[in-house]
């Protein structure tokens, strides 16, 4: 059991951490989410059949991230009421100082634009384009058909591209 657990941590731990970082934009929260998910894995490793682990792990990680993001949205709503926060700020602007994990400006732009995407578009882009997971695993994780995964990913990517272009145009203007 312990060996299997350690194998799964080595195999998928970094992927989960990356998913959490991209969804949350904060290293500390991403660490917490990854750790929490892997602790759950330890407790459930016996009940998981071979091949089920990755969709299960991604689902746990994604749900934990979505919980945190929902909490942030609530907090941000309150802060906006109090401080009349600048509307132009994207979701990634609320991340902490430790979120500068991509050094390039373009990478930062991509990450900010990605963080501003709605669900499940953001998760689809992370899982399909960034992590290059196969369609079947993503479909199983997000409870979609394989064709839906493909089409929604295509549309999410195009939406992201339009956002980036609009942002670029705004900066030029």
């Amino acid at each position: 059991m312990k060996r299997r657990f350690e194998q799964l941590v080595d195999q998928h731990g970094s992927r989960l951490y990356q998913l959490a970082r991209l969804m949350l934009g904060r290293d500390d929260e991403a660490e917490d989410v990854a750790q929490e998910t892997l602790v759950k894995l330890w407790r459930n490793v016996d009940s998981l059949h071979a091949g089920q682990e990755l969709p299960w792990l991604i689902t746990c990680t994604r749900n934990a991230c979505l919980d945190i993001l929902r909490g942030r949205t609530r907090t941000r709503g309150l802060l906006q009421l109090v401080a009349s926060e600048n509307k132009a700020q994207g979701p990634a602007d609320h991340t902490g100082p430790g979120d500068e994990f991509d050094s390039g400006e373009r990478a930062r732009e991509l990450r900010v634009a990605l963080a501003g995407m709605p669900e499940p578009a953001r998760s689809l882009l992370i899982l399909r384009d960034i992590q290059e997971l196969d369609v079947a695993t993503v479909a199983s994780t997000l409870e979609l058909s394989e064709n839906q995964v493909k089409v929604y990913t295509f549309r999410a990517r195009r939406q992201l591209r339009h956002r980036l272009e609009e942002e670029s145009d705004a900066q030029v203007a």
Binding site: K2, E31, F101, R158
Partner: protein
């Protein structure tokens, strides 16, 4: 008449084309999608921090030891209970029915009789003394004896302390 393809089917075809394409597609929009797709690969890649791995290993180790610790604790409790039971003082058995009947001896009966007699005598003496003391303070009520015929014969009877005869 040419029927426009279903948007879902159209996007599915485009996504399949993007996946299969090793080179930049000719259509400009699709080419931009293709470029972005390649740009996104590996964005924000990172290793799971060593600190997290260490905490996980420690946690797993602790949880694996948990049942052993519980077993040791349970064995200790059982040992203490067994020791307590074995070392407990022997409980006195209650006397059986035949042993509980006490037959008084003649001496016991004589002592009991003497005690009763003493109580009786002392009680009578205390009552007589109290009667004498109280009688002097009592006022004889007027019973209207003077109105009765032969009152002179009746009065001494009522005035006598001992009315028994």
């Amino acid at each position: 008449m040419h029927k426009s393809p279903d948007p879902f089917e159209r996007d599915l075809e485009r996504e399949n084309a993007l996946e299969d394409s090793r080179t930049v597609p000719r259509e400009p929009e699709l080419a931009a999608d293709w470029a972005l797709k390649r740009e996104l690969v590996g964005l924000g890649a990172a290793e799971l921090p060593v600190a997290v791995k260490t905490r996980l290993r420690r946690n797993a180790h602790m949880e694996q030891r948990g049942p052993w610790l519980m077993g040791i604790a349970a064995a200790l409790v059982v040992a203490v209970v067994v020791a307590a039971v074995l070392q407990s003082p022997t409980v006195q058995q209650p006397p059986t029915g035949s042993q509980s009947v006490v037959t008084p001896t003649a001496r016991d009966l004589a002592e009991l009789q003497f005690a009763f007699d003493t109580i009786n005598r002392t009680g009578k003496r205390a009552a007589a003394k109290a009667g004498r003391e109280v009688q002097q303070s009592l006022v004889m009520p007027d019973l209207g004896l003077s109105e009765l015929p032969y009152a002179g014969y009746v009065r001494p009877y009522f005035e006598r302390p001992d009315r028994s005869g």
